[in-house]
Subunit: 199 residues, 2 copies
DNA sequence: CGCGGTATTGACCAGTTGGTCAGAATAATA
DNA sequence: TATTATTCTGACCAACTGGTCAATACCGCG
């Protein structure tokens, strides 16, 4: 059999891509060392050679997924709105669009969330990601509270950020389970109604 | 070895309880026919005798879980509030409390959601449950729109119900992954701020 | 009591899994 | 070309999986 010799970082990248493909197709529960190897066209021993154990492969897949997902990047379009409310709305809109545009990513993350409930090493990564997410929203919420102090009397920026994160992830659940009943425009309109009408 | 003979429905119930215990401890991915049998103190063949296949055991566990979880029951306390806003708030509060009170249930449901993304038979059950959930909220949202037509100009009852469901489930994710940073009171206060101050 | 149906069991099977290991193919170096 | 370090492979293993099956212990019924 022909053998190719490839620099380590490329092999690892190739294996991670194969792992991603398998995980998308079969789910993380259906991800096996041999399945990944087959997808990558190499022997299963080589996968173990580069990643040691399956557990580490899964963890590195999660890292790879997190690193490759441009989450909550505040684009110029979003930043250009003068009012905090408009920026918040644009940001929510953008995140919803991303969820819809990358359904496999969303599904995979959902699986990792579930796994995280039981596996500390996964949970810590997800937890850090949630914190990143919350932080991004917290900034905009602080501005919102400053600009309209009377509108949200009982609320804090932390609480509002948490609500925004909850909402996005709850949408992710509904969108993957029940795409038919999930109408992002309608949901966005409802949120717009809740935080007050935009100009 | 001693054998006990038990009426069918009791045996099934016993096995389902054992399956629940195993699923809580090991996750659905770690649920095996033999593990359930061990937990129930019977042979693994008997589990298969009563449920035919593992797949059906898992599905019936989900049904059992859904049937045994009193979700979104509108108590007298909640119904007694005259204003729709107060009832909504009380309902959200009640659901949040339930999520915190039954963390194992919440974790298990999270796993089933993730599984539902790939398994149609699970998805249809989860989807129906989501619809039940949405319906319960829709009623109260319709009242809210009627009582305060100017407050949520662009919103529909469907949209608002979906947002409420999203929010609850997003909270479930954050609460199971990141219980330390999850402060339900603060989140509730933020929502209260969003939908306007209560009387 | 004996008898028939059925709940229950242990033995068994084929397939898959993660993981190890000795050794072969490759590339770099001397 | 010979040496050496590293990547890569096939064969192998023990553990576990879901599932089948014949045999058996139990029960109600005659």
């Amino acid at each position: 059999m022909r053998r190719k010799r490839i620099p380590e970082h490329l092999r690892r990248e190739q294996i991670l891509q194969a792992a991603f493909a398998v995980a998308c197709r079969e789910g993380i529960g259906g991800l096996t060392v041999r399945g990944v190897a087959l997808e990558a066209g190499i022997s299963h021993t080589l996968v173990l050679f580069h990643f040691g154990r399956k557990k580490r492969l899964v963890l590195e897949l999660l890292d790879w997924l997190i690193a490759g997902t441009a989450v909550l990047h505040i684009s110029e379009d979003v930043a250009s709105f003068p009012h905090a409310r408009d920026r918040l709305h644009a940001l929510l809109h953008q995140e919803m669009a991303r969820l819809a545009r990358q359904p496999e990513h969303t599904r995979l993350f959902l699986e990792f969330w579930a796994l995280g409930a039981r596996h500390g090493e996964i949970r810590s990564r997800i937890s850090a990601e949630l914190e990143r997410y919350r932080t991004a929203f917290r900034a905009i919420m602080e501005e919102l509270l400053l600009s309209e102090p009377s509108a949200f009397v009982t609320a804090t920026a932390d609480g509002l950020a948490g609500v925004a994160v909850s909402w996005i992830h709850g949408c992710a659940v509904q969108a993957t389970i029940d795409p038919v009943h999930f109408d992002s425009d309608e949901y966005l309109a409802a949120v717009r109604g809740m935080i007050g009408q935009l100009g």
